[in-house]
Symmetry: C2
Subunit: 225 residues, 2 copies
Amino acid sequence: MSKCEQCIVREFSALKALNKDELLRMADCKTSFVVKKGETIFDEGDSLNGIYCIKDGVCKLSKLSDNGKDQIVKLVKKGELLGQRSLISEESTNLSAVAIEDMHVCFIPKQEILQFFNENNQFSLNMMKSVCGDLKDADDGMVNLAQKTVKQRLAETLLKLEADFGSNEDGSLKLQLSREEIAGMIGTATESCIRLLSEFNKEGWITLQGKKITITNKKELQRMI
Amino acid sequence: MSKCEQCIVREFSALKALNKDELLRMADCKTSFVVKKGETIFDEGDSLNGIYCIKDGVCKLSKLSDNGKDQIVKLVKKGELLGQRSLISEESTNLSAVAIEDMHVCFIPKQEILQFFNENNQFSLNMMKSVCGDLKDADDGMVNLAQKTVKQRLAETLLKLEADFGSNEDGSLKLQLSREEIAGMIGTATESCIRLLSEFNKEGWITLQGKKITITNKKELQRMI
DNA sequence: AGTAAAATATGATAATTGTCATACAAATTC
DNA sequence: GAATTTGTATGACAATTATCATATTTTACT
């Protein structure tokens, strides 16, 4: 059983408010596991008995729409927590979480988290801030979906993927998503997404090589937004 | 200075966790005021020094998009709080709040709320739940905007307006919104919204008399969603 | 009450986006 | 390694939605 003290999640999430004692208790009751790319951590409608710490990897939070398409609401990466909303609301999840890369994840039982809420005020405050951050992002997302064109949303998403997840030595986006996933992020049909990527490519804003996408003219993409 | 003890906001919001002592303190430092329909409570980018309790009336939370259109993110009504996100995040607001009806509002200074966070755990938990509820709604809103047609979103919005705000004796929706505001809720051009309302009218799902909208065939509207 | 301003309504048209079909490439399976 | 499945790409077309123009109605103002 590894320690929680030096874990990256502790560094970046609400957990940074926990003291040594609390971290030891957490290390004691947590379970670690690996999630392979494509595997599901939880599904829409599941009731969660705790929250997940993402030690490594990235997953998508998405919701299946009636038309059969998966709308991606958020990407969650290393250092972040997963499942807080459901735990705090005491409701089953409204989103599913599926790994986009291989992941290392720890599960902390609900009881433990609730106790932290009770005894550690800073932890509660941190958690609130984190949820508020998500809320702000979601509100912004709504405005984008409602008021911007698919082209603008694609440009914005590509820039955001670079900003959030970085790029490789060759300049290509580190996080590789399928066309379907990108379409799910910007809220459009997969074909439309593919078409626009081709268009961006022809215009010279980006370069495509298989799943690899390289931004070659950031300024033009920014200008579109 | 009126008491907070029997206030409707206390009944329905996170404030229900406050004890007599805390309520008295709150009554002492709060300021009450009236907001006329159309008036602004706060604007996008304002820094708030507290939160607002809505004793009566309804306001819209909206964000101005680059294309000049106002996207309505949420309607906030009597009994609810306003400005928590900004206060908790310690950021300026990302949304503006404008009265849709005449309102009675109380302002509670930031210091007071922070103290409640520190001394009353249930209050913190309630606040978290409330923000989490908003987050869930926003996530659902994103999926709707991304995956449903304008027609479906209009139908859904009309039903939601009836469910949330009720109807008058004549059956018309109690909350009267301008066409532009309805368009801002469903994320479409005002003309498109007007056109679809006319269409719904012709089909017999709704009746229009000026600003008054009456749902006359709820089942058909539900079937569309 | 009379006038100006704003909101609602509708037509015509263009632009955007989705759907269906099909082709090709890449990955996976046996 | 051949075969099947899955993902990517593109064309053709239809449907949806936005934009611009212009009436008409309602509301606000003095």
